[in-house]
């Protein structure tokens, strides 16, 4: 089932490429493929049994036994959440690109390839198998920026590629070392070893001069680097504003909505279960990085002149909350199952989902704006759009409020639970982060103020409001934000077994 789900967008993308002469047909096909993928993902969501511990829908085939490599897929609560999210964001992006004539069918195919890479990453359970998808998703993302980006696309795509590549290589080296010491690549096997406290001693087999504890710590940081670049965590984020701003907004929707989640996914699937001791030891620097990822980008976003850059920094800021939640949950507590840890981790997952929705929607609205202004998107260049295009301003306003965490909208439960869980576990870090929360509100409200209120900029006097088709396509996503804000149990119901596993370390 999962294999089909992964291959489906890939095959669909190839079919779209084959059809690329007939533009409309190719686009329609890409939409159909994305919709069908979403339906399959929802089917998995439906059949998934949330109360069961461990992986479901597992599929295991030997590949190169001498190298510990197997084809191994499966999903737990986290996996189900991620594939659904990837499918939703892809569909949104393809819908958004429908009326943009610059984006050829090749664009649609690349988005579908990226989706396949993402779903593969979110379901693979053997390092090598996982790493293929992790890297493969880089290729369509690179070309999305390189072929369809703005004027600085060559530089931005190159920077993006090099940064992620360096991170990936560090990650690869870490896992090679683990393989050489233990002979295993399987995430589940490694998790079991680590949770039984056997992984660190096993690394002594590596024949490496130096003490074991240090080597394990070193490997943790190498793996961390891979995910920190992807998420990104400050100070490894500098590729992101350029990449997000240069990519066409429709592509940025997928980059920020789904691809940035690969990093957080890595934190949850790999770092937290496989390096529990190392994460505890590295807790203080990790928390500092998390706080920096929350606070600094919020300030940076405030002073950006380009709306896309503002929201790019906002993306770093929002994922910073996730990193904070994960790092806080590494605190050793007296009870094995601490409600604080569970709260923080639940918050992280809610935040992942909510950020995917809101960030994708924000870039969608920017795409709509760009189409009306011919590509202009400076914060200062608008004013009073509230009066000219009330519906557009209203919908984008809702999205911005969801993004800053207004109760009733999807951003609130996640951020609230992260702060609630983190406060007792990492008090000072949480306190400083609240400052970031404040800044988040400040810069998002600044955007609203500068773009929507104030005197009407005469230049955009006659800007058309959203068409009926645009309103209808935006509506389901906006509705979903309300649903998640009012009824977060939709997600929490799926994940409590997974959360309990992470919070206790039992049941792997």
């Amino acid at each position: 089932m999962i294999t089909i789900l992964t291959l489906f967008p890939l095959v669909g993308g190839l079919a779209v490429l084959a059809l690329s002469r007939a533009r409309t047909a190719a686009r329609a096909l890409s939409l159909a493929v994305a919709a069908a993928t979403l339906i399959m993902a929802l089917l998995i969501w439906r059949v998934f049994e949330p109360a069961r511990f461990g992986m479901q829908f597992q599929d295991f085939h030997q590949w190169a036994p001498s190298l510990g490599i197997a084809y191994h897929t499966g999903v737990d609560g986290l996996g189900v959440l991620m594939i659904t999210l990837a499918a939703i964001v892809t569909l949104m992006s393809l819908v958004a690109s429908w009326s943009n004539q610059k984006l050829t069918p090749v664009f649609c195919a690349l988005v579908l390839f990226l989706e396949a890479g993402l779903i593969g990453t979110f379901t693979a359970l053997n390092f090598v198998h996982w790493f293929i998808f992790w890297e493969l998703s880089l290729i369509p993302a690179f070309f999305l920026i390189r072929l369809y980006g703005g004027s600085g696309r060559a530089r931005a795509s190159m920077q993006f590629f090099l940064y992620t590549m360096v991170g990936s290589i560090a990650l690869l080296l870490a896992f090679l070392a683990i393989f050489l010491a233990t002979g295993r690549f399987d995430f589940l096997d490694l998790t079991r070893l680590a949770q039984a406290g056997q992984l660190t001693p096993a690394l002594a087999n590596l024949h490496w001069p130096g003490t074991n504890a240090h080597i394990a710590q070193l490997l943790f940081w190498a793996a961390f680097l891979g995910f920190a670049v992807k998420t990104p965590v400050v100070p490894f984020h500098t590729w992101l504003p350029a990449a997000y701003a240069e990519a066409p907004s429709e592509a940025t929707m997928v980059l920020t909505g789904a691809m940035s989640k690969m990093g957080i996914y890595g934190f949850l699937r790999i770092l937290l279960p496989i390096f529990p001791e190392q994460m505890q030891q590295a807790r203080t620097p990790l928390l500092i990085l998390a706080v920096a990822s929350i606070v600094l980008p919020a300030f940076a976003a405030w002073v950006q002149k380009d709306l896309k850059r503002t929201f790019a920094y906002s993306s770093v800021n929002h994922l910073g909350y996730c990193v904070l939640g994960v790092c806080a949950a590494t605190q050793l507590t007296e009870m094995r199952l601490s409600p604080e840890k569970a709260a923080a981790l639940t918050g992280v997952l809610l935040q992942i989902f909510s950020h995917a929705l809101t960030a994708a929607l924000l870039f969608w609205t920017i795409a709509l704006l760009e189409r009306r202004t011919g590509g202009l998107r400076g914060v200062e260049e608008f004013g009073g759009l509230r009066r000219v295009t009330p519906v557009f301003a209203g919908l984008m306003g809702i999205t911005i409020f969801a993004s800053l965490g207004l109760p009733g909208l999807s951003g609130f439960p996640g951020e609230f639970l992260i702060f609630k869980g983190s406060f007792p576990l990492a008090t000072w870090a949480t306190v400083v982060s609240v400052l970031g929360l404040l800044m988040t509100a400040v810069f998002l409200l600044t955007v609203i103020q500068k773009v929507f209120s104030g005197p009407v900029n005469p230049r955009w006097q006659s800007m058309p409001d959203l068409t009926t088709a645009e309103r209808l396509t935006l509506a389901p996503a906006i509705a979903l934000m309300f649903v998640l804000g009012l009824y977060p149990q939709l997600i929490t119901g799926m994940i409590h077994a997974t959360i309990a596993q992470w919070a206790t370390g039992v049941g792997f």
């Binding site: 198998h129 290729i139 060559a154 080296l173 050489l180």
Partner: protein, 512 residues
Amino acid sequence: MLAWTIYLSFLGAAAARFAPSKQLARIVALLTAVTGFALTIVALIHWQPGELLTVARIPWIPQLGIEYHLAADGISMTVLLLTGIAAIAGILFSWNIEHRTQEFFAFYLVLIGGVYGVFLSFDLFLLFVFYEIAIIPKYFLIAIWGSVPREAAGGANPGAAREYAAMKLAIYSFAGSALVLAGMAAVWTLSPGHSLSLETLSQVPFSTHFQMAAFPMVFVGFAVLAGMWPFHTWAPTGHAAAPTAASMLLAGVVMKLGAYGCLRVAMMLFPRGLDPWGFHFLGLGSWRDVFAVLAVIGIVYGASVALVQRDFKFVIGYSSVSHMGFVLLGLMTLTQIGLDGAVFQMFSHGIIAGLLFAVVGRMVYDRTHTRDFAQLEPMGLARVIPFAAVTFILASVASIGMPGFSGFIAEFQVLVGAWHSIPWTAIVAGIGILVGIAFTWRALTKAFFGEPTPAAAHDHPLPPITLPEKCGAILLLATTLAVGLYPRVLTDLILPTLNSPLFHGLRTGAWR
């Protein structure tokens, strides 16, 4: 029946030479290659794991103990499969040759026949004969049909540059052969009953002293052709000057002749030659250390030099030196996984290098008539010939060792083996892989993804990619992907053979 791969190639060569039309010569060549491959497959189906399949064994020059002895084990089977596939692909990629077509395919098939012969010979003398047979057509293929652009020839006459490359290749090959010949003579003298059968000789316990002396001589003799640093310099010039199909065979198969000889003759007959000397010189304690060092130097050096080339084909030429370094390193690990990786890499590199040369030589050079990055960059070839770009992207990721392609399984096994035997070589080789990523990336972006200037784009529309090219590219891509996804196809051939009596001597040495 397997012997017919050799006879058929020579018959095919004669038929192609005297074919009445060019098209007929092409078809004859293709049919010959396909039949040879099919024969290998059929033999493979009947082959038992670990078995030494005797194909023919009749006395040839009984006075000297020389037999006509053809046989195949799993390692031969692996390289035979490679030869079959590379031969078919090479013919598909030289479909457009119009200059002396019949002779081209005749020489081509003689080369293939010689290669099949080497891989099937189990008599040392016979192996040597086929080894020499293979050198001659290589010379003519380069000297007559070679491709040397004027700028690469340094202003000199392109014909002279071709002959220079061809002669360099021939001289290096013959010099290597001379070392092998000397080793062969010594073995013949010392072996009881003056036999030259590899099967017999592999069970003869030569004195350690003799093995220590004979091993480096024979190993170096073969390793010249495998592109071992510092004897690699024929490889980039030869590859770059050769016509596409010949570069594909040179990198794809001929370099494997050398590596195969290293394993089949030097290591199988003189396993004690790898033992420690008992003293240390510059930190090296055995021939094994020496050749491991040369192998990793080759890996890093080849990749570094490839990083700064201005000629597209030289990049691939030097990359072959780098990737063949993995074969030699794998052999020197003396671990089961490392040797498996080495043989796997022979196959994998044969396919991938063939593909890279096909893109550079046939798809790009034959259309643009330049291999200079400075001239290719403004063409923005990715938009002009997207099929070539996609093929090259896939070949590149296969070449840098992306999991899912054959190169990963091969190089990774070598690295694991190296880590368990001589750890620091694994680290240096790992750095070589990183440099490999860098030069592959550089070549890819420069050749295909330069910013097209309007003038260059519309100057002369390039002819579209033809059907034979597409078939050849798909054949090679499918092979590297299939082997990468299901490596047991090859490991089930190689591993039982490594555990067979032939390699008993090697296993009891420093083997882990």
